[in-house]
Symmetry: C2
Subunit: 103 residues, 2 copies
């Protein structure tokens, strides 16, 4: 759990938005039929919503991945990103422990 890297990854409103969008696949266009069974969302769909250049979004996803908030899975030409709920929970817990003055 690298707090430094995690907080840096969250220190950007679009990156935080992406994490929120990924809570629900329905926030993105329907998957292609051949991807129907796959978890996660491909970069192109995320880019479309983020309204940023493709390379910027790829960079963003790399930062979120390094921070452990998402995992990436390649399927053919596509990379599917999805939230890593365990790591996200662990980060929230760590923040709470570090910030809050617990008795």
């Amino acid at each position: 759990m690298d707090m430094e890297r995690s907080i840096a990854a969250l220190n950007n409103p679009i990156r935080r938005k992406i994490l929120e969008w990924l809570k629900d696949r329905a926030n993105f266009p329907p998957a292609l039929p051949e991807h129907a069974d796959l978890e996660g969302v491909c970069v192109g769909y995320i880019q479309e919503k983020a309204q940023l250049s493709q390379s910027t979004v790829s960079n963003y996803m790399g930062l979120l991945k390094q921070a452990g908030f998402v995992t990436a899975e390649r399927h053919g030409q596509w990379t599917f990103y999805r939230r890593n709920e365990d790591n996200i929970r662990a980060f929230v817990a760590a923040m709470r422990t570090e910030l809050q003055h617990l008795p």
Copy 2:
């Protein structure tokens, strides 16, 4: 609750350390007798622990204050900073709500 400003304020290891130090007055030198009844810690003591220039620490405390994590109280020449536990709790809760995928 300005998440943008709050996260930016936390996006620095020394600023986070300062918030941790402020959990316990005992992390700093004993207060002067005439300050014995006052909550909070003066900038000089924080600077001593942070090992950064006076202006940097003053700037840091300003950022933490703007984010709502601390409050400042002037007493004579001194400014005493202390944690705002309510706001810190509120921020942790907001982070949890924003990040975690709650059912």
